[in-house]
């Protein structure tokens, strides 16, 4: 929508689609602080109102890249929503940041039971829902989203199955407060800062975040049209380096206030900077911090892609015979990441995949030139996902 150029008059500008979300921070910072320009990459940021717009503009070739949900990037490449457009992911934008926010009365009930019976919140949620005659309705922000897959995963650990004893609907994050207030939904899962917005409006209480479902869960990625990536290899590498620098900036707690103020501008997120601040590094309480750089957050792990694709199959969003490993390898491109950052001295993981969910505490990742300090990555049900390599 709002075409904004860091430089104008150049024909080969990288057009990047964004939504009004905290995870847009690295792209906005790289643009505003001139990191893209210093790498010789002319950019145009397109702040869009919906994921459908982001997807359509990529699909029709009207934008070159986007900060996007991995499941949506797969859906666009595989043509699950017409028309198809091959995308590549050379860079991961963020980990964490989603919240599960319930209506206040339901949240009160759930928290009371959880405390009384010493059970996880999701089991308390199941216990409160079972005696009720009507099926609970939960909202996510798009059919092909991390929110959809994380929420389904979490609910299923307590036997709440979308389509069987609960309904999932799609509601844009800006409408979630109203949907809670009018009792259209019992709760929702959305990215920052929208859970915080609902809490501030007095409509809901956040009972879980990404990290309660999957510690350091991958969230958004930077995806480009494959044809653009192949015809602009130098610009692609420059963009990855600029984003890496911006990710490091956004991850520093001392920069959080600046980043929040920048994002809160009307032409970007247009919401209270305090609400954004609560999802940035250094936030107190540290309930829902988005991770941009540390713990290899920028690396496009093929095991992340395989996990998402596997979950899409589990819930019937992707045909069972689809070869998840082949699709993951085609779209997630750690080779492009390595090539781009080779000269920067940034430590890069040696492998393209890692077991997901295997670490309950900090650990050291084999990387070059130095190992990378990693954080816990366990799932709420203790499952370990072994990727195929």
């Amino acid at each position: 929508m709002n075409g904004r150029s860091s430089h104008s008059g150049n024909t080969s500008r990288l057009k990047i689609g964004l939504l009004r979300l905290t995870d847009s921070a690295p792209v906005i910072v790289a643009c505003e602080l001139g990191y893209f320009a210093e790498e010789g990459v002319q950019t145009e940021l397109m702040v869009e109102p919906s994921w459908a717009n982001i997807a359509d503009k990529l699909a029709y070739g009207f934008s070159d890249a986007a900060v996007i949900l991995p499941p949506l990037a797969f859906a666009i490449t595989l043509g699950l929503r017409q028309p198809a457009q091959s995308l590549v992911v050379p860079f991961s934008i963020s980990m964490g940041g989603n919240t599960v926010t319930l209506s206040r009365e339901l949240a009160d009930e759930v928290q009371t039971i959880a405390l009384r019976d010493h059970v996880p919140l999701v089991n308390a949620l199941a216990a409160t829902l079972t005696p009720k005659p009507e099926r609970p309705v939960f909202a996510v922000v798009h059919n092909y989203s991390t929110h959809d897959l994380l929420l389904r995963y979490w609910l299923a650990t307590a036997g709440i199955i979308a389509g069987r004893n609960a309904d999932l609907v799609v509601i844009p994050p800006q409408r979630m407060v109203e949907a809670l207030q009018t009792r259209r939904v019992s709760g929702f899962c959305a990215g920052a800062p929208w859970g915080e917005m609902a809490v501030r409006a007095g409509a809901g209480t956040t009972v879980a975040t990404s990290r309660d479902i999957w510690r350091n869960a991958p969230e958004k990625v930077f995806a480009l049209r494959q044809d653009w990536a192949e015809s602009h290899p130098g610009m692609l590498e420059g963009a990855v380096r600029a984003l890496l620098r911006a990710a490091r900036f956004c991850d520093a707690p001392e920069n959080a206030a600046y980043t929040a103020a920048l994002l809160s501008r009307p032409d970007y997120l247009g919401v209270d900077s305090q609400a954004i601040l609560s999802s940035l590094p250094g936030a107190v309480p540290a309930m829902n911090r988005t991770v941009f750089h540390r713990h290899a957050a920028t690396f496009p792990w093929r095991s992340h892609a395989q996990w998402f694709l596997g979950q899409m199959q589990r819930w019937g969003l992707l045909d069972a015979p689809a070869q998840t490993r082949t699709i993951a390898d085609r779209i997630y491109r750690p080779d492009l990441y390595r090539r781009a950052v080779a000269a920067t001295g940034e430590s890069v993981p040696v492998a393209d995949v890692k077991p997901e969910g295997a670490h309950r505490s900090t650990w050291s990742l084999d990387a070059s030139p130095r190992p990378i300090a990693m954080d816990a990555d366990y799932f709420c049900d203790g499952a370990v996902f072994e990727p195929s390599d």
Binding site: P49, D56, G61
Partner: protein, 200 residues
């Protein structure tokens, strides 16, 4: 019709009504769009592209896959180039908002026509794909018979046809069964679009 601009919505509604589109329902942005579409079962949805509610519609495309509906988007001036490309692609229809009140009937009629054509081409394509797949199955079954049972090509075809006539089924079905018995699962490519052992 979902629109942010009340004036535009009114103008469009009046034009459509005067042009004989029987029933125009205006829906407030942010209402339960999915439920409304399911309940009203409209022939066409007109919406403002600048609304985030588009994602909800994106979600119901799958639910309504059997009875899809054309969607017209009204976009802002900045998206002019995008609109042209989207229309050229003919899958979904985007139109500029400033043209809306004047030419709304043409736009809606064109959207329906484009959509119908797209659906027709799509179903024809599916039909052709099906026929091709059947042909390939029969060819492979013949090759199998010729190789394993030392039949000539006409003999193999006659064998398949006789079986089909005797059991009152299609030759392609007989071919598929024969191949399934001959080569169980092992040589599946798994990709879905190609048939087992196609390269042989």
């Amino acid at each position: 019709m979902v629109d942010t601009s009340v004036e535009r919505a009114q103008a469009i509604e009046e034009t459509l009504a005067s042009e004989g589109f029987a029933d125009v329902r205006r829906v407030a942005a942010g209402c339960n769009l999915v439920a409304m579409v399911e309940q009203l079962s409209p022939d066409i949805v007109i919406m403002d592209m600048s609304l985030p509610d588009r994602d909800a519609l994106d979600g119901i495309k799958e639910l309504t896959a059997r009875t899809p509906r054309p969607v017209v988007m009204f976009a802002d001036e900045q998206d002019a180039g995008f609109v042209e490309q989207a229309i050229a692609a003919g899958v979904c229809s985007y139109n500029l908002s400033d043209a809306a009140t004047r030419d709304v009937k043409t736009i809606v009629t064109t959207a329906i026509a484009l959509f119908d054509r797209y659906k027709r081409v799509e179903s024809e394509l599916e039909e052709i794909k099906g026929l091709l797949a059947q042909r390939r199955l029969i060819e492979r079954a013949k090759a199998h018979l010729m190789h394993n049972r030392r039949m000539t090509e006409p003999e193999a075809y006659a064998w398949l046809r006789r079986r089909a006539m005797n059991s009152g089924r299609k030759i392609a079905q007989i071919a598929a069964e024969l191949l399934k018995c001959a080569a169980p699962e092992t040589d599946r490519t798994g990709a879905g679009e190609s048939l087992p052992g196609e390269e042989k």
